[in-house]
């Protein structure tokens, strides 16, 4: 008997939970009716994981913009699991949202469900990570090439246009490493006073950034500037440079993690390039709105970056 009571109670709890939560979560409007889908336009957002502050910020940006635009935004969390993401996107398709903002857990694994959405007449916009193997209406991500350029220009300015530079690269073949490197290299290429004395991968890892920089310093201590393609490597390199007793080396990182921003404030790093996840979310909602209104949108929408300096 107890079990049947328990399961009934459990069912009841769910229903109470639902009816309490439903209206609150819709970002658009104030009336409960928006959540039921009458009136306001509904847009879905599938986030790869809410365990990472970067993606939480992305969600917050989208949520705020949706509220301002009177759009009802439904967010589903994939918890870094491709299967959970597919289930969530299918639920959004069933919900008949107009546009799905998709932040893939894995670029390859979401192709099938993007096709499903397209077949159901729902437009898909990819955020931060691209989709391989299926067409999306637009891809919105940080402009890593511009970020690399920004870092290069900052280094040149601080060094007065001359000096020996080191570049620490991320995981070979990853899009972030490729694009950040491309931007940086394009700025320093052909500058007469500048010499790139070493360009080696340290796989976005702090410990590897330390050892790779140590090895470089074994061969050449005459170094004025370092560009690391992420902050972890920059902080590792900073450690190696400090231990080698070198002063006045200008180090630039990428990502503006909390550690790196603190290091910039303390004068250990010169700068770090900051991505703007809130802006990615906001631009996602803006682009969704354009699609719903039948306006044309760009296939590739780069999101600007900022430079954090002391």
């Amino acid at each position: 008997m107890m079990r049947s009571i328990s399961t009934w109670v459990a069912g009841l709890i769910v229903l109470i939970g639902c009816s309490n939560q439903g209206p609150d979560t819709g970002a658009g409007g104030t009336a409960a009716s928006t959540a039921a889908g009458s009136g306001a336009v509904t847009v879905g957002l599938s986030i790869s994981t809410m365990d990472n502050p970067f993606f939480v910020a992305l969600r917050d940006g989208a949520q705020a913009e949706a509220k301002a635009a009177g759009i009802n935004l439904i967010t589903v969390d994939a918890q870094n699991d491709a299967a959970k993401q597919i289930a969530g996107v299918e639920d959004l398709i069933q919900k008949k949202v107009r546009v799905i903002l998709l932040n893939p857990t894995d670029s390859d694994a979401v192709a099938n469900v993007v096709k499903e959405a397209t077949a159901a007449g729902i437009k898909v916009i990819s955020l931060d990570r691209a989709v391989n193997g299926a067409e999306v209406s637009a891809h919105i991500a940080s402009d890593n090439v511009a970020g690399g350029k920004m870092a290069g220009e900052f280094l040149l300015k601080r060094l007065g246009g001359k000096g020996n530079l080191v570049e620490l690269e991320g995981i070979p073949g990853s899009s972030a490493a490729r694009e950040r490197g491309e931007g940086f290299d394009s700025v320093i290429a052909g500058k007469p006073g500048v010499k790139l004395v070493a360009k080696q991968p340290a796989n976005f890892d702090r410990a590897q950034g330390l050892t790779v920089m140590e090895n470089i310093l074994q061969g050449n201590k005459d170094i004025q500037g370092v560009f690391a393609q992420n902050d972890e490597m920059a902080l590792g390199a900073q450690r190696a440079i400090e231990e080698a007793g070198l002063k006045n080396v200008v180090i630039v990182g990428f990502d503006a993690t909390a550690d790196a921003v603190a290091a910039v404030k303390a004068g250990k790093l010169a700068a770090t390039v900051q991505q703007k996840p809130e802006l990615i979310g906001k631009m996602g909602v803006d682009t969704a709105k354009l699609l719903i209104e039948g306006e044309p949108v760009d296939r590739n929408i780069p999101v600007p970056l900022a430079l954090v300096t002391q």
């Binding site: 459990a10 639902c18 694994a109 099938n112 193997g133």
Partner: protein
Amino acid sequence: MTARQKETLQKYGPFLALIAVCIGLAFLSPNFLSVSNSFDVMRQVSINAVIAFGMTLTILLGGIDLSVGSILAVSSVLAAMTMKGGHGAGLAAGIALLAGAAMGSLNGVVIAKGKVAPFIATLGTMTLLRGAALVLSNGSPISGFPSQLFAMLGGGYVARLIPVPVVLMLAMFAVFWFVLRRTVFGRHVYATGGNAEAAKLSGVNTDRVQILVYTVSGAMAALAGVILTSRLDSAQPTAGAGYELDAITAVVLGGTSLAGGRGWVFGTLVGALLIGVLNNGLNLLGVSAFYQEVVKGSVILLAVLLDRGGKT
């Protein structure tokens, strides 16, 4: 109410709860009861249900299988590597299932012959096999399989309506139902789980039963891995993490006792559906991801807690 009526009500409690939740959701969300949504939910449930059918057997024995998520990953990677090697869907699925069974039997042998507690043994293989999946795949996903037949396993439809994974799930349910209800092996599982000593004394080869049960659990995890790989068109070495807990939840919600010897596979199917319906319904209602976890956890806790209370 007679004792018999009480027992019947207790047995079908989870099923009634599922119906109650469905009725509630049908009123709250206009999309919920549509045919396409119903099949979507069942397809989403199929992977967990298939794993949970195998898990039902291990729990009926009073054991547990924590390694199912890792077995799923290894099988998935092996199937992908087979296809990347230029072989067909049949061979890929066959190798995955055999590998799953082999990994499961390793669990069974360690537990039955090595006299290691199932929790510890499968905790060990869970970690070991996750490592194996990463080693085999070199840590990165293997994606893009040309075989149309393989794509059917996760993404195809029977009669243009029923998703293939749902058919596979229902077929497996029928097999498990039959084996547990109608075969000697099924009776031996209940007997061993209820009282291993007594079963042994009455001539049941309990070691053999244990090894077989863990082998089946491994094979079911591999089947789930094949479905998932097909569905994603990608094998991910990190896939399946946490799936053991989803499967255990389905089994326990379905009324199978963690102490062993008591339970049924119908309850597991209902338990898996209940979780799937909750996930789907909460998404359709637009409930925030954070609150969803709170709601699901409360449901599990309440169902199990009150269930335990009734036993004392």
